[in-house]
Symmetry: C2
Subunit: 126 residues, 2 copies
């Protein structure tokens, strides 16, 4: 796998977490999510966001509502987290935290005295 393919795989894994977290404390419409989530890591693009929103809504993790805010504008669909989505976000955040600490522990500079992968998880490793 080349770096691009690998990056795509990481992004796919992250996109759902990023979207759910953006909806944590407020309703947002698609373009608003996109604006917040499209850093240079390309975790989300409009080509990936809208199918993802559709899936998340179908799975009951987010709830959408159409709003017409201004007669001159097209209606916007606002999304918020469902209760299930909120619970999922908590769980994904926990998993992500463990995961990113674990991976990063292999990358902290040259060979460390501490065994890689054991630094932060040794208490929990079973």
């Amino acid at each position: 796998m080349d770096v691009t393919g690998w990056q795509t795989q990481l992004r796919k894994g992250a996109a759902e977490l990023v979207v759910l977290s953006l909806l944590k404390d407020q309703e947002r419409y698609g373009l608003d999510i996109l604006r917040h989530a499209s850093g240079n890591t390309g975790v989300l693009s409009d080509g990936t966001l809208y199918p993802l929103l559709t899936r998340l809504e179908r799975e009951g993790k987010i709830v959408g509502r159409w709003a017409l805010e201004d007669e001159s504008r097209n209606p916007r669909k606002y999304y918020r987290l469902s209760q299930e989505g909120a619970a999922l976000l908590v769980e994904m955040t926990r998993v992500w935290g463990d995961f990113s600490i674990f991976v990063s522990s292999f990358l902290d500079g040259p060979n460390s005295e501490v065994e890689p992968g054991r630094r932060s998880l040794s208490r929990k490793a079973g």
Copy 2:
């Protein structure tokens, strides 16, 4: 997607990076890699490591050699990074760094004053 499926996706993305990084400064055999990489995040198991090593070797990212260290033991296959693998590791490490900072920026506590996703990447966002 449930959390388990999502976790699997993250793991797949991370496994290659973790293996390459473990071979950065020294030769290792499979079980040695596994011992270092199998924290409670389950990034690698013996079921995923050996196919991954085979693929990485076929792709020329790592180089294997068989060694018979002790007549009473089975031969072990030791792996080291190729030049290509070393270059890939540098690139993947950079991508991972950007990526993990980006995702984590959405998860730092409740709504921040700073725009999520902009905290650490704003200089580079294009």
